[in-house]
Symmetry: C2
Subunit: 298 residues, 2 copies
């Protein structure tokens, strides 16, 4: 008989994971949502075979419990519900910042309960069950966080969760738990903040609206993630702020460095070299991530 | 008999403009390219009815001469060829930074020759005739630069060039010449440099490649323009460096400001408010520019 996956939180990630598991695996899927109407929508879509507005039932009926709420909320929920887990049950999560949740798990997890964290690198600036899709994970990275020192970690379960990601179309990456948040601050959380910063600098003053009328695809794409949900990204960024602050400091230093290159009276030789170096690095990205580098309009 | 438009430079912008004018207007179109093979490709596509590797012929046969080479090159060419223009002929350009070219025109333009500058806000990180498309200008902004103080400026010609942009699908914006480069530094040139800066910070060290494997659509889109042609963008950015340096300084100050907000022990209240403000500003963008704000994956 196939295992049951219980997904706590049927937003964009949790709801899409439910649809993907139904479509591409033989896992049984059940879920929790705060609002009954979301449970009803997920049931109507057959994303889940059962859904509750009560976490306890999900934990009771699942072999693998996936926490798919924002990091702080995941952490609070786990602290409250840890005692409900029984030996051999598997706990995982899909959030973008790990500090809060992992600390809560390591503090409260009962003996014999297994915890391996994952991070599917998918999402959108739009959130909620309304935008779920079974193909959200196709071709995206799916990070499995290895933490051999942790007593609740199990290598076989880590492989099982890696296979789960692969079966719904993701590219698997293995990262040491202790390194994850620093990496993610650099590739996701800081870039998200930079999009907001650029939006405020360019569009935030009295000339901002007219100025933005003169923008094109470059500004549009550079600032896209500034449309993300503030409440969710606040939890992700603030939950990882030590690393995000370091990444922002690196950006501040590099902007200053580039200002000095641009100030040189060298007919732009230093800037052209810098642009060339960045281009070389950027061109490796599609091959590293397997994503097509769409030639959107500038 | 319809007017002849001579396009100097059949790269992405010039070549696409030729195709668009052929497709959507009754202008006669001729062109210049440095290499004969590009002339042959443009002739084969019927983008132009005649093409030369010699600028003189284009100037001789055109009512409207469009400089579509990089800004510095446009400036050099105009200085060399200005004497070939005759009274009543119209000179325009389509480049992203105006200082060099406009200075050259105002210095060398013969009496009676009319100059009105335009800036179609279209392009791509890929350049060259190989990527031209007749619909490059659809739904994009087309700036007409008004400069009533200049003796070579003509309001009726400015309207004619605005109509040209509208007829190939663009949204017309009118900007005072003296304001153009400062606006463009903010909405295009600085964002382009920021994409390169973020690419170097995130992907430029020994951990860069592994780090980039963990990135998703947010980093991909934020850094897309770092794939642009260094030689071309050097001319644009260095040609506008006074304004670009000011924009970079504003970014550096704002990054520092946000670091201070994030450092507050306020459970992220200040950061959430900041993200909310940026989201509000960003959400005006698609409506302002008429561009579809694709919900690319995060």
């Amino acid at each position: 008989m196939s295992k049951t996956v219980g997904i706590i939180g049927l937003g964009l990630l949790g709801g899409s994971l439910a649809l993907a598991l139904k479509a591409y695996t033989d896992y049984e899927v059940v879920g929790y949502a705060r609002r009954q109407e979301i449970c009803d929508m997920a049931l109507a879509d057959k994303a889940v075979s059962k859904a509750w507005t009560n976490v306890d039932d999900v934990i009771r009926e699942s072999d693998i419990v996936v926490f798919a709420l924002p990091p702080e909320t995941n952490a609070k929920f786990f602290a409250e519900k840890a005692h409900l887990f029984t030996s051999g049950q598997i706990v995982t999560d899909v959030s973008s910042a790990k500090d809060d949740f992992v600390a809560s798990v390591y503090q409260h997890i009962p003996d014999g309960v297994i915890f391996v964290s994952t991070h599917p690198m998918a999402g959108s600036e739009k959130g909620g069950y309304e935008v779920v899709t079974k193909d959200l994970f196709q071709k995206m990275g799916w990070i499995v966080l290895d933490d051999p020192e942790a007593s609740c970690y199990d290598a076989a379960v880590a492989d099982e969760l890696a296979n789960m990601g692969q079966s719904i179309g993701s590219r698997i990456e293995r990262v040491q738990m202790k390194d994850h948040d620093a990496f993610l601050a650099m590739v996701s959380h800081m870039p998200h903040l930079m999009a907001s910063i650029m939006t405020v600098v360019v569009g935030g003053d009295e000339l901002g609206e007219f100025r933005m009328r003169l923008s094109a695809g470059g500004f549009r794409d550079s600032t896209r993630t500034a449309g993300g949900l503030p409440s969710m990204w606040k939890e992700i960024i603030f939950g990882n702020r030590k690393n995000v602050l370091q990444s922002l400091e690196l950006m501040e230093q590099e902007v200053n460095h580039v200002r000095q290159l641009l100030a040189r009276d060298d007919d732009g030789a230093a800037i052209e070299e810098y642009l060339g170096r960045a281009k070389q690095i950027r061109e490796r990205l599609p091959y590293l991530t397997g994503q097509v580098n769409d030639a959107n309009l500038e």
